[in-house]
């Protein structure tokens, strides 16, 4: 069997990068008065092509490319598909909601696509330096996107906060990588997993793990590294929040799975209690703070912190179970979170005329479609059965119970009861009959592109809840295939920097 050319190992990334460059070039050469909205369709097409590219990778034998720096496996394909789908939906959402006269539409779509390159690469990288570069590519794009509403004070504030704190976090990650390199003499993840148990400088590895965890947990906005989240979400445009509350997080969680389960599985006694504490903190802090929010986006920011906590509960699961459950939860969370931000974008507009929970009063009466969708996505976030949110929690907590973390699950489920209080406050306020003057206000219109985005999100949330097998089985596959480097075994692939053609 012919070895797979290296370039196919990063096919989706290549497609996305080309799309981004193309958009930038067109944007630069187009006369300034011409509409740039159609560039969004180019970006959407690119995202679809990248999705197709990830699926093409399914037919390749698993293995690494570029001297053992990137990998294609069920695990990476799972996350590539997920990220490309999120990006696609976000672009569709932006198409109808970005103001028509904005001069920066071209950049906007190019940045989204470039960010996606970084996120995809992050999930496929098995080399810590590539990991670092990928993380930077994705972060820098999101820093800029976060500050896209320059005319408001909150936009630049959000971008600067995110940039400063994010840079710190990346520095932590880099320092951790350096320490691990110092202890093992390599930055290749499978190599590290082989060398770590027999390394002499064990304390370096522990410190490196700790620093890397700080960096990654910042990116997934887990407590106590979450303080940036509410401010950034509040300041950033809603379609961007839809993207950055899901896709970069999915990529960062993929990295976390790699680091703990694949790179340092032997250190489970160290990282498991750490993640236990972080999970409990994230859920509790996120939910308690969300209860007191009046601003919808801040509330959802805290809710995303809480969801990071539920997700981390899956890490208490053993081996494959934990990875499969976490992967599934990420997909479920992405579907419903993109959906709810899409609804909020539509209901309150790009310039956010309705920032507060009370502003949503009577949405069901004004626009039954948007109101019902809002309630649907909120129900999924609560974890109502037959939605993705329920099954995500079920698999995550089921994995944790399997791993013996019964208290974590009890805390988690009580937390989800607490969370229901603020989600449903919004849902019930939206379904209350409004005063007549608000009833007369024009209902928001749902365009074609955004309609497609909503339909996609609803369908994904329902499928994940009613027939989760379509995702559970690939997730289980992802779990099984990422553990191909059992600890302390010399036959780990990637060492020879070759795809395994021996089959």
């Amino acid at each position: 069997m012919n070895p797979v050319p290296d370039i196919f190992r990063i096919l989706p990334e290549v497609i996305l990068a080309l799309t981004g460059v193309l958009i930038m070039l067109i944007d630069a050469t187009l006369p300034s008065h011409r509409s740039r909205r159609w560039l969004g369709w180019v970006a959407a097409f690119g995202a679809m092509a990248a999705l197709w590219g990830s699926l093409v990778q399914l037919s390749m034998p698993e293995g690494t490319g570029f001297s053992g720096t990137v990998e294609t496996s069920a695990f990476t394909i799972f996350f590539h598909v997920l990220i490309c789908a999120i990006v696609l939906v976000t672009i569709l959402l932006s198409l109808d909601t970005l103001p028509e006269n904005s001069h920066h539409q071209g950049e906007f779509y190019a940045l989204i696509v470039f960010g996606a390159v970084g996120m995809c690469l992050l999930t496929g990288a098995v080399e810590l330096l590539v990991v670092f570069i990928a993380l930077e590519i994705s972060s820098i794009a999101t820093y800029v996107l976060a500050g896209y509403r320059k005319q408001t004070g909150r936009g630049p504030e959000a971008a600067i906060k995110y940039f400063l704190l994010g840079s710190f976090a990346t520095a932590f990650l880099l320092y951790g990588i350096a320490l691990i390199f110092g202890a093992t003499g390599t930055t290749q993840i499978y190599e590290i997993s082989r060398l770590a148990p027999i390394a002499e400088n064990h304390s370096f590895i522990l410190a490196g793990l700790g620093l890397m965890l700080v960096g990654i947990l910042f990116k997934v906005s887990a407590a106590p590294f979450h303080v940036w989240t509410p401010d950034v979400y509040e300041g950033a445009p809603s379609p961007v929040v839809a993207l950055m509350s899901t896709a970069p997080k999915a990529a960062a969680f993929a990295l976390l799975l790699r680091v703990v389960y694949e790179m340092l599985p032997t250190l489970r006694p160290v990282w498991e209690p750490l993640l236990w504490v972080v999970a409990v903190l994230s859920m509790t802090v996120g939910n308690l703070a969300a209860l007191r929010q009046q601003n919808v986006k801040r509330m959802l920011a805290y809710s995303s912190i809480a969801h990071a906590g539920y997700l981390l509960a899956a890490f208490a699961g053993l081996g494959n179970d934990g990875i499969a459950a976490a992967s599934f939860y990420i997909a479920a969370y992405a579907a419903m979170n993109v959906g709810i931000f899409a609804v909020i974008t539509l209901a309150s507009g790009y310039d956010e005329k309705l920032p507060l929970i009370d502003d949503f009063r009577g949405l069901v009466y004004r626009s039954p479609l948007l109101g019902s969708l809002l309630i649907f996505f909120l129900a999924s976030l609560v974890g109502i059965p037959f939605t993705g949110g329920f099954f995500g929690k079920l698999t995550s907590f089921s994995a944790a119970v399997g791993g013996g973390a019964i208290w974590l699950v009890i805390i988690g489920l009580l937390n989800s009861g607490l969370a229901a209080a603020y989600y449903l406050r919004l849902a019930f306020v939206a379904s209350q009959r409004p005063g007549d003057e608000r009833l007369a206000a024009p209902a928001p219109q749902v365009g074609f592109a955004v309609g497609a985005a909503l339909l996609f999100a609803v369908a994904a949330t329902l499928v994940l809840g009613i027939k989760p097998d379509y995702v559970v089985l690939p997730a289980a596959e992802a779990g099984a295939h990422t553990l191909q480097a059992p600890p302390a075994e010399t036959s780990a692939p990637g060492v020879a920097a070759l795809p395994p053609p021996q089959r």
């Binding site: 109502i384 059965p385 329920f390 489920l413 019930f428 097998d469």
Partner: protein, 508 residues
């Protein structure tokens, strides 16, 4: 088994959902949503009637069973089936759906499509609870049953809908958290969510007693809040006074009571036996406490809420007496309570829609103006307080008989006091609403009695109350088929303890 027997439960489950989708599609003109909802409800009721006709009371175990793989990992099955315990509850749910539609016919004027779609979705959720035999499937419908209810309370609440909806939702949702933990724990230990499999495995599993104690308690707690059992009834009054009539008549009672029978006592007979004396005590307190509070309410929705607490506590008493007689009485009383409450809520809804107040003190002397309303109300009230020859008598009598002969004479006598108080508050309510001097309220509106549609629903309900009072043998043999399964009559006779009787069931 014929093909129809194979698919009947699935049809019953899906038909309301299909109706809900159809309601969303039709235009909101000419009361089309109402008609679609009514026809769906009637068709579903028709389907449920297939069950008692083809149910074999002589044959044990679950019938009309379907057991298919639904989700591979974790292994969850679409396992549905009914026995004597759930059979009539399914039929009752089917019966109350058209009643609910008629009760909402004029009361709901805005956003009718959403209302009826959610109402029908609620039917699906309730059917699901009664027929599910896989714990996750069951849990799914159990939680799902909260959602349409809560949204409708928020949308159509009379004073502060969102607040009542949130209270109602959280009161049921938070206790479900330990329930889910317990289910997951069982799965981690046994590898199964299946009801019949778990019955066998738990009986033979030799799990540590203290762990099983907590697991069983988590189940019981979730159900007790939903019933409600004293002192977990905090949500009832607000929910009853805010919920649309069609939902108030189904919000309390049968889901929780059935779950106790099936999933608490059915799965954990030993633990249920240990906790039964406490439950009996709480039930008797609930009977008296609810009745006393009902006596002093000034608002008829709240009065109905505490009356429900009292009546449902009586049923709880029947269940946790763990006697065959008590169980038959309990299931029978759930049915009767459903029918009577359906009629009473329909009538109170008519009054509320006309006079826009639920203050009992504002009413008075309506009987002369609205003779039909008054007649039906008096009849349903008599059925509710357990007048012999009407439905309430049979259930109450069986429950109290079972308690008196096999549990405790003292508790039975105390509980009987509740029946007397029940007569007091219901008859006093009747007197204040319909008799006495004509109030200003009664004179304020032109007399307009029940409409044809309402009569068409009330006549069958009234006839049913009468038949349930004089011919209980239509129902009791089938109920007994279900009630015989769990470990009865063993509470105070340790020699006959369950483990030998349950496996015989499971290994069918």
């Amino acid at each position: 088994m014929t093909a129809i027997d194979q698919s009947i439960l699935t049809l019953i489950l899906l038909l309301p959902l299909a109706g809900a989708a159809l309601v969303l599609l039709v235009p909101d003109r000419l009361r089309l949503p109402n008609w679609v909802a009514l026809l769906t409800a009637l068709a579903t009721f028709g389907l449920t009637l297939h069950l008692p006709v083809h149910f074999a009371a002589a044959q044990g175990g679950f019938q009309f069973e379907v057991n298919r793989m639904w989700i591979e990992g974790p292994k969850i099955f679409y396992h549905v089936g009914i026995d004597g315990l759930s059979l009539w509850l399914v039929v009752l749910t089917g019966l109350l759906a058209p009643v609910g539609v008629v009760a909402s016919w004029n009361a709901i004027q805005e956003r009718r499509k959403l209302f009826f779609a959610l109402f029908l979705a609620q039917q699906t959720a309730m059917f699901g609870v009664f027929i599910s035999l896989d714990l996750i499937l069951y849990y799914g419908f159990w939680e799902l049953s909260l959602v349409p209810m809560a949204i409708l309370i928020a949308m159509y609440g009379r004073k502060d809908g969102p607040k009542a909806a949130l209270k109602f939702f959280l009161f049921t949702f938070i206790p479900s958290a330990p329930l889910l933990v317990a289910i997951l724990w069982l799965y981690a230990r046994t590898g199964s969510f299946d009801y019949t499999t778990l019955q066998v495995l738990i009986a033979h599993g030799n799990f540590p007693a203290y762990q099983m104690f907590w697991v069983a308690l988590a189940f019981l707690f979730a159900f007790a809040v939903k019933v409600p059992v004293f002192p977990l009834h905090g949500w009832v009054a607000d929910t009853f006074s805010e919920a649309p009539v069609a939902l108030a008549m189904v919000v309390a009672g049968k889901l929780g009571l059935y779950s106790m029978l099936r999933f608490h006592i059915g799965l954990f007979p030993a633990e249920a036996r240990d906790v039964a004396p406490v439950m009996v005590g709480l039930a008797v307190i609930g009977i008296l406490y609810g009745a006393c509070l009902a006596l002093v309410q000034r608002d008829f929705w709240r009065l109905m809420a505490f009356a429900a607490l009292s009546h449902l506590s009586l049923i709880t008493l029947g269940i946790y007496g763990l006697t065959l007689t008590g169980w038959e009485g309990a299931v029978y009383q759930i049915l009767n309570h459903g029918v009577v409450d359906g009629a009473l809520f329909l009538l109170l809804g008519v009054l509320y829609d006309r006079y826009r107040t639920s203050e009992i003190g504002d009413y008075g002397g309506l009987a002369a103006k609205l003779p039909r309303t008054a007649t039906f109300f008096v009849f349903a009230s008599l059925a509710m307080i357990g007048l012999p020859a009407l439905g309430g008598f049979v259930g109450e009598f069986l429950i109290l008989l079972g308690t008196f002969t096999e549990v405790s004479k003292g508790w039975a006598i105390t509980a009987t006091l509740g029946a007397i108080l029940g007569a007091a508050y219901m008859l006093w309510l009747v007197q204040r609403l319909f008799f006495g001097p004509e109030s200003r309220l009664a004179l304020s509106k032109p007399p307009e009695d029940l409409r044809a549609g309402q009569m068409a629903v009330l006549w069958p309900l009234a006839a049913l109350m009468l038949v349930m009072g004089v011919a209980p043998m239509v129902w009791l043999p089938t109920i007994e088929q279900g009630a015989r399964r769990p470990p009865l009559k063993i509470q105070y006779e340790p020699a006959l303890v369950a483990p030998t009787s349950i496996p015989a069931e499971g290994q069918r």
